[in-house]
Symmetry: C2
Subunit: 192 residues, 2 copies
Amino acid sequence: MYLRVLMSFAERGMRSVSSKELAREAGVNDWQVRKDLSYFGELGKPGVGYDVHGLACDIRRILRLDRARHAILIGVGNLGTAILAYGGFARYGLKIVAAFDKDPEKVGREVHGIRIQDMSQLKGLRKRRISLAILAVPASAAQEVVDYLVKVGIKGILSFAACPLKVPKKVKVISIDIAMHLAILPYHLSSE
Amino acid sequence: MYLRVLMSFAERGMRSVSSKELAREAGVNDWQVRKDLSYFGELGKPGVGYDVHGLACDIRRILRLDRARHAILIGVGNLGTAILAYGGFARYGLKIVAAFDKDPEKVGREVHGIRIQDMSQLKGLRKRRISLAILAVPASAAQEVVDYLVKVGIKGILSFAACPLKVPKKVKVISIDIAMHLAILPYHLSSE
DNA sequence: GGTTGTGAAATAATTCACAGCG
DNA sequence: CGCTGTGAATTATTTCACAACC
């Protein structure tokens, strides 16, 4: 979150920011910013603030975004296609380099510059040292696919499937259930 | 999350569940389930467990999902189109009833049964008592659109824009920055 | 015997206040 | 004098343990 804000500051040509400015743009408070960053070292200069470029580099190093990462996409339906088209990953040094689907109708087609491969081609990943995957398949197929991804060496999964996924402790899963997030909103509709 | 699990239990014909079963499917522990639910009343029966249908109804009431809700979509790009195609909202009683875009090329076209309207038509919402919106526009346009949504009476916003949004306290925003979520994964890649 | 609901204990996160640096 | 970094205080969350109940 802070990295995102810092990149936008850098684009605007700012060289230095205070925790207060960072906080305002990130939607938190200044002491939260300082406490968060302090866990990773003395990243700022008392009396001055934080160096925009320097802190961005520090956070990239902390998040291991200091070198480019390749990711694959599984499931090229509506959401998968939208993700292939999305250019927002590049700013974090992330790139989708392959897409897979089990539908023979889709396999072989090219979507936004990526040729869709059959799921059976997944095993070719081992050699390529790709560790990230984006999962955009129906919940009914998700666990099966995840088991397979783990088998071919994937270490981090961003899942859009509406179900929890079981993985070994070494593998990290982040799940986004879009419908569930929308469903939370009515609870906060205080009036009416 | 619990509601999602309960609906899947109901589909499988189960009538009653223990906190332990609920926990396993939801990916948490049993005492967490009991504590969470206890904040809203005595929803289970000691010695028996929770009634699957009954608890689902209780949670729907708590989340105010006990009646159908209409939502609108702003921004019919790749992600917006995917969202229009997505059928997962229905199970929470949520339905997208209108879509808006500022691109004259898109306005008038029909996508998955929804005709795309111009942004200027948004003001017609007031009368229709729609309180939810899904925001799938670029970050650069997001705040401007949000200000307008607030003006026409929207009370809850699910945003996919990669920026924090300023809204009055009465309005609730949930933000999903897909690229940021993927960018978090490398941090957890312990080895390598 | 099995299961919930809940006080109490343990742990974690947030907020505050200010010493110390530039 | 403004700003960071951080120990201490506060607040919130999670975990535990068990009484009450079917």
